[in-house]
Each structure stands twice: as structure tokens, then as C-alpha cells.
Symmetry: D2
Subunit: 297 residues, 4 copies
Amino acid sequence: MPILGHTQYGKAEVRVVRIHRDTDPHVISDHNVSVALSGDYADTHLTGDNTRVLTTDAVKNTINAFAKEAGDAARTPEAFGLALARHFTGVPQVSRVRVGIETFPWRRLEHAGAPHPHAFARDGGHVRTTTVTRAGDGAEWVTSGVAGLVVLKTTDSEFHSFYTDRYTTLAETTNRVMATEVTAQWWHAEHPADWDTAHATAITAMTSAFAGHHSLALQQTLYEMGTQVLATGPGIGEIRFSLPNKHHFLVDLAPFGLKNPGEVFHADDRPYGLIEGTVRRDDAPAPGPAFDPGQAW
Amino acid sequence: MPILGHTQYGKAEVRVVRIHRDTDPHVISDHNVSVALSGDYADTHLTGDNTRVLTTDAVKNTINAFAKEAGDAARTPEAFGLALARHFTGVPQVSRVRVGIETFPWRRLEHAGAPHPHAFARDGGHVRTTTVTRAGDGAEWVTSGVAGLVVLKTTDSEFHSFYTDRYTTLAETTNRVMATEVTAQWWHAEHPADWDTAHATAITAMTSAFAGHHSLALQQTLYEMGTQVLATGPGIGEIRFSLPNKHHFLVDLAPFGLKNPGEVFHADDRPYGLIEGTVRRDDAPAPGPAFDPGQAW
Amino acid sequence: MPILGHTQYGKAEVRVVRIHRDTDPHVISDHNVSVALSGDYADTHLTGDNTRVLTTDAVKNTINAFAKEAGDAARTPEAFGLALARHFTGVPQVSRVRVGIETFPWRRLEHAGAPHPHAFARDGGHVRTTTVTRAGDGAEWVTSGVAGLVVLKTTDSEFHSFYTDRYTTLAETTNRVMATEVTAQWWHAEHPADWDTAHATAITAMTSAFAGHHSLALQQTLYEMGTQVLATGPGIGEIRFSLPNKHHFLVDLAPFGLKNPGEVFHADDRPYGLIEGTVRRDDAPAPGPAFDPGQAW
Amino acid sequence: MPILGHTQYGKAEVRVVRIHRDTDPHVISDHNVSVALSGDYADTHLTGDNTRVLTTDAVKNTINAFAKEAGDAARTPEAFGLALARHFTGVPQVSRVRVGIETFPWRRLEHAGAPHPHAFARDGGHVRTTTVTRAGDGAEWVTSGVAGLVVLKTTDSEFHSFYTDRYTTLAETTNRVMATEVTAQWWHAEHPADWDTAHATAITAMTSAFAGHHSLALQQTLYEMGTQVLATGPGIGEIRFSLPNKHHFLVDLAPFGLKNPGEVFHADDRPYGLIEGTVRRDDAPAPGPAFDPGQAW
């Protein structure tokens, strides 16, 4: 007999832009919001009875309305996500809410030698990510994160003395180009006073670690980056990284009578090494469902 | 104090194409293979000691070599993934392997009124997906799946009688266009004799269910699709779906003096409803880590 | 002094889906329509005077309305494009219209052993493309085309005896895998009676030529494909191809003690050879602006 | 009879990264290079005779070798493209070369309160584009450009008093959000002394114009942006823009009892207005093939 297992549903990728005009200069909050609701929805699955189903259209409407109603909370994705999660756990049949937000940074354009009060360019260097998970009993988990942050160092990276088997042909190196596109998410065991400052501080910690660390393996760099983010304060309980090794292969120029002392590289697309790892504070509580997306796999 | 949590690493997206020339006509197996290894890799993270690290380059080499060495196993992604997983759990320090494969179907071209023995066109209708998870103790979990399968029905879909709150504005409908892009993964509690036939049978079951079912909610359609896949035989223990509701909005043509009785629609991009759910056999064992990607979140 | 040069404007990527319910079974026309208008629009550029500017919102509305008003013309992209172009050249200040359409094919799903009358799966094997260009004097040019058609042959392809210089290192081969993703556009010097049949015939001609031709260079295959499309009838005056050489590199398995007689390949992403060429009928008139997108470059 | 028309061929998307280590700090040049060659290649198309065909593999090798051999010329895409174009027009049968380059900017990471000498983050705010066209007789055309530059202003944009027809329903506005993703290419009638400075100056001119201009139409903003780029010096003969109107639609919050005085917007994906236009210096010579990509359409 078939039976229904875990389910969740909601509206994904609501692209809501909030302009704060009551400030001078203007401020933009540019979010891509997804909400997933869990609860007892067996009726709609088994019989098509939608009596207890809040429509995903209403979820979208709520996100848009909260961009206005939530006031200052809409300025940071973490506060916006908390406001939304607290609303949706108030819907009768909802036992768990997960809010995921991608936030797109903007920088102010220059005009006549000064930052312009209401003109912007999108800062494509990274996307800020946020998740808020809230249980029906009021427990809350917030993670902040980053995606699309591409970093590269031209030296201070070695890779050698590794395990070998019959399929190993890689040459050892004491000086390579190392590059990755950082995806990271960190869980706030305690909530900071200022989400924006906390986020900027974490990004600075991880990029500074990447720059300053002499690397023997991307795994080691990952751990160092995580350690430095945890060191920014006691609030962050755990950080998880997904670091693709964006390979830069030295081009063999010998057939053309040329030397290539670490100067000309082919930036390859696929395949790529993929290093994933967690760094946590030894005294942090368990992160619960903070990193658990629910159904998706 | 920072401590290391869960880690995994490997090579992602090895694009290996295997031509089987010992058959007439030729056969193509076109795979995008990712392998993730777990185990005790604290040394490389903490000190950069790579003594126990099999390089991701060797992982790539192994995948390529097995496309030859594994013989007939390379013809189906499930068998190929099993061969790879069994190899990698034999690497000393590896305690768990996960192999993920995207397989791209090809159809034979016609020439001179007959299928051509060695010319093909890519069948872009879906991607076949596979995961194999293997523990150090030899336990194995195989899932098969599909991604990118876009289906649409022009009628036989209703949506009404739903819960309403102050943010609900959606009109009820007894006849709408319903479309989704199916991502699904099902776990084989028992392994079928023929992976290709089993996959084709599952796809037929879910698309036939989509076509024939009179839908009161996409959630109900999901459950019906899952039920029909489980009904194809006793081997499938559980199936999980992620179904974005690809909204087709009726265009208001009244301002131009035109009626629009379900004829002209705007196919919208974002946002979209996202319905996710699991259907399982009541007598199936627990799926263990079959659906668990490990680190990624 | 700055002066205004060529301009064009319009609405791009209107995703209009037309369901034809007056037939049994139902039929879907799924189009992505872009319209670009040229004319004397100096006022809006120089002074912001929009008196003569039809809004791009109205362009969108017109496309949607014509999906209903144009009746049977909405069923094929060429006829739909002609209907739209004839309308827009009637807008007073418009001197040239270009309509570009991407059309997404659907195939009927099977249910209970028969094609279902109103359930479909998207056929992802290619996108059908169309352009209609119309001048203010009523001259019209229609092209049909294809994009995303990936084809591969496992043998019957050689490449050798090429020009060499000091940067040439490529080995000659008498048997390689050849694959490409066809983008092609052909101009109808005369309009066929049935656009759908004409399109299917052209696709069959080019894929059959790809399958059956023994190739000494992708350039030669291009010419053969073009020749066979022209041979389908006197109406097609010219065809243009853009054929990326989707390289499949033989993997060197010798380090692992394995032979690789044309069996295991790496499907590479970038870079790729790009072969572009035109085949035309020697008695065809000049194609005029049929292939000229106007401003874009 | 079929005959061969215009052809071109080459290697596309060679991802070459050049590290300049002879400077302190290190400098990265990160290019995606495509080369297309035109000439008399009828033999390869008609008979598969490749005697006069330089392989696209050799084109790739040449690009990589020139990243070393060209010395300082590899530091700016315009100089790199010129070096490549001059080489390829020296290949006997080549009558025209077109080099297209995408260049990815990097910014230096901070570490210990100072810019780091060899660690970088990709600056995702835009891609710098370059084309060099060279004829067999030595005539050269260089364009510089930008892609992916997303800009937005929260006010100072009106749109009203436009032409109306029976399909016009758009409301007039005297205050809207205006956003676009700038693609632009400008032709250097004379070559500047410093390509990097010239590029930065052009970007600053167009973004400052976007910020400071009170807009009555995106067309007017386009003309103003072009005018300001031309005003940066006498060398730029012509600039072409492709400006999608990235619509931000005011969300109707009235059903929820909320006002929305220009605060909450839906950032829509498709369709979008597309405004394209050319601004040129009245005394500039004709741009010849500077903007002509050849075969592509």
C-alpha cells in the first residue's frame, strides 16, 4: 500500500524589491524569497481536499505585503525572514516554516564626484543568502551565507604528498594557482545586534583568511576560513562550506619553444574538485534543522 | 574552540561518453558523473597533511578507466554507479561513497527510411538521474530518477475550496492549464533485473498518471504519480517529487474587446508554486541515506 | 557633435501559449515572441518626446491579442509572425518591423495505450525559430530555423591533411566522433503551402544528411546539410549554419594499462571550434534583410 | 544548383588566464577569446580538402602562446586582440580576422588592513568586451564594450504622453523605477594611449549620465549616455547600446489595506522592453565592419 511521507509546499522565487524612500539617500533591498510550509496536508494529497491549504498565491501576496508591513525588518534578509516565518507559523495547520532568501547587493553610483542618492549598480561579486527555519513551538534557526563569491590566489598554494593508487597520475606541486567559488552558510547560535554588520564581518574574515593563508590543500584553506569566521564572535555556532576547486591548468607551451613559469593557464569548466566541510564551535549546541532544507535532495 | 564537523570531497561533473562499438548498431552511454567520498580526513583539514587523500584527479581517472574496465556495467548509470562505489569503498580511509550521475538520452537518427546505426540526436526531453550510496560495511542504496521532464495538460485540472486568509486573492477555478517540470527520485528497495526497462517503466507510469488523472490540486497529482510508480512492481520502496507549478496565467483580453475562453496564456517564469512530497510503500524498510546528499544543503 | 544613428525598439520574449480547444485532440502553440520596430524615433531619443512611440507594453498586448485574433495563423510561427508584422507596419511611424519567434515543440503523452487528447510533454530536442521582417513598402522576408539540435555520429568522420604552422600540434585522424549543436536559419524565397510540413522536411533533410554523409571536415558536412535542405524544393533560397564542434576527446587510458580503441571520450565544454557558413541556390535573389537582425551585434 | 556563400570559422571561448608575476603586486588578465577567420575555404566545404585549413586547435594554441609571446600586449584585451589579429591575417589564405574577447575584472582582496599582493575576488559587476577586426590589407577596427552592467534609479524617471492605439492600456507615470542591464560597444576611430584608462573613463561617463539624467524615456537616457561617452575625447567615433528595460512593477497592496507609494516592486523577468540605438560623432568616418560579426545572425 502506498502511504504519504514527508511533504512541504510553498511559493519559490518571489522577486520583491523594496525601495526605502524615507531615508536620504534612498536604500534598496532586493530579495528573491522562497517559503516552504510543512504540516498535515494529507487531505490535499489523498483526496484533493484543499480546505486546509493556504494557496501559494497567498504566500506570494504575504511576502509582498510584508515588504511594506514589516517596516525596518525588510531591510535585512534575516529580519525579513524572521518576520515572515513568525507569520506563517501562525497559520493554523502549519507545523514548520522554512524561508530562503537570496539578496542582491547594490552599490551607489558616482555622479559629479560624489555618491548619488538614488542611482545604483548591481554589485555582482556575490549573492547574500539567508535561511530562517521556525517550528510550530516557536523555536527558530537563522543562517546567513554567501554564494557566487569567486576568489583566486596566484601563489601560496601547494599540493603534494598525497595518497596514490593505480589511477593516480597527478604531478605534485609546491606552487599553484588556487581558485574557488565560495558557497557558505553559517548558523547563528545567538542573533547579532546588527545583521548587516555581522554579514560583512563574516565575509571579510573568510576572504582575509583565504588571502593570508599559506595553503597545503583546499581542505586546509576551508578549515582556516571557517575558523576565522567563528573567531569573529561567539554567536556563530557552525559554518558549512561547499568549495569547488576551479582548476587553472598550466598550459604546455614547450611545443612552441616557449617557457611557462606559472604565467599562462587554462581556466577549465568541468570536471572540478568539490570540497565540502563543516567547522563548528566545540561548545555550540546542535544546529537542529538549521541546515536541513526539508524535502529537497 | 573550532572543531571539524562532517566533510566530504571528490570530483564533480566528469563528462564521460562511452561508445559501445562491439554492438551493431552502436550504442552511446553519455554520463555526467560526480563522486563524493567521506571518511576520516581531519589531517588534511587541520594540518594540510594529504597522506590519506586520494586526489580528485585520480577520482576522475578512475571514472574514465571504469567506463572501459567496468564493461557492460557502463551501459546503465545504476550499474556504473555501483561499480564505482564498490571500488571507492575499497580505498582504505573511505567510509562512505556517494556517486551521482546525470545521463543524457540519445535517439537514433533516421536515414534513407531507417534508423541509422551510428548517428544520433540528443533527446532533450529529460535527463535520467542516478545516485548510489555505499557504506564501508557494504550496505548499498540505489535511486533512479528524472529531471527536466516538462509536462502540461490543457484541462482536467481544478483548484478551489482552499483555505483563505487576509492575503488570499486567488480566484477559484474548475478548469485550468496545469504544467510542471518533474524532478523525481525513487529508491530501489530491491534491484530490478534490467535497469533500463525499470527506468522506462517508471517514467511511463508517472506520465500516464499525469495524463489520465483528474486533478483537484497538484499535490493530489503528485500522490497519484507516486502511487502509479510504486505500482509498477514491489522493488521501489519510496519516491520523492519536486514539482514546480509552472503557472500559465489566462491573459485578460477584455480591454481589446476579445473573449478568452481558456485559449491565450502567459507562461510565467517566477515566482512559482513548489510542491514537494514523498510516497512510500507501507511495508518498505527505511531508506537510510538513499536520499541524503551528505554535506550539501 | 553627437548624432543619432540607427535605432530599434520593442518588446522581447513575450511567452504566449495558445491552446486550440476547438480541435479534438487539443493542440498547443508555445511561442516566445520578440518584436523590434524601426522608424523615425529621433524625438524620444533627443528630447524625451514620446508622442510617436507605441509603448512596448502595447506591443506585448498586441502579441497576446493576436494569439486570439489571428485565428489559425497563430498555429505556426511563420504565419503568426507575418500577421504581427503586417499589423505593426500599419502603425504610422514604423518603417520596418522584425518579429523573432522561438517555438517550443510538445509531444502528446501516452495513456492507456493511446496518445492522450490533452496531455503533453515538452520535446526538448530542439527549438524551432522564425523571423519575419517587413518593410514599410510591404516587402516581406521569412526565415525558418532551428536551435539546440544536438547530433553526434560515432564514426564516418575523418580530419587530416590540414595546413600546419608552428602552432599546430593536432594529430590527424581517420575516425573520430563528430558532434555539433545545430543552429540554422533558412530563407523562404517563396512561401510554402504548409509551414509545419516544410519545417519538418527541412529538419529531416539536414539530420539525414548528417547521418549519411562520410565527413572529411565539419565544413564539408555543413555544405552537405545545406545542399540537402535546398534540395527539398525550390522555395528555400539560402540557409545559414552555425555549427560548434562539440569536441569529444579520446581519453588516454594507457597509464592504467588499458587500451581505448575509440570507446571512452571526454565531452569538453570550452573551447570549441565554430564553423559558420551559407549555402544558397545559384538562381535565388538576394536575401535582403532576411538575416539582418538590425541593431544587435 | 547550390553554391557556397559567406563562411567563417575558428575557435571560440578559449579561457586563458595570464598571471603577471614580474610585477609586485601580481596582476591577472582573465580572458575568454574567440577568433573567426574568413577567406577562400571553398575546398574544405565542397570536397573536404583541408590543405588550406589552419586547424581550430592551432588557433587555440596560438591564443595560449600569445598570452606569453605578446608580452605586455596581453594585459589589455584591445592590445591582445590586435596582436592576435595581426598574426592571423599573416596566415596565407586568411582575408579577414575577427577577434572577440570577454575580459573578467578582478579586485584585490584585503588582508591585515591592506590590499593583498596576490589574492583576488572576481568583480562580478560587469564583463569588459572587445572586438578587433582586421582585413587582409591591414585595415583595423577596434571596439571596446561592456556587458552585464545592471543599473537602477529609484526616481528621476518619467514615462507618459506616448502614442496610443486600441492595444494600449499602460498608465502614464511621472515617477518610476528605471533599471537596465547595459550592453554597449564603442568604436575607436583613433586608438587611445591607454586602453584601461579609456575603458574606465567610458564606463564612468555612461554610469554618471545614467545617474544624473532626468529621464522621460529610456531612449532619451540611451542618447544621453552615448553623448557623454563620446564627450570623453575625440577618439570614439560611435557607440551602440542594447538596453533591456528591466521592469519593476509596483505591487498592488490595496487588497491588503496597505498603501504602496513607490516602495514595493515586483522585479519581472520576461517580457521586457528592449531599446537599441546608436550615437555617433557627426564628423566620424563610417565604422566599416567594426560592429559586423560576420556570419552570425
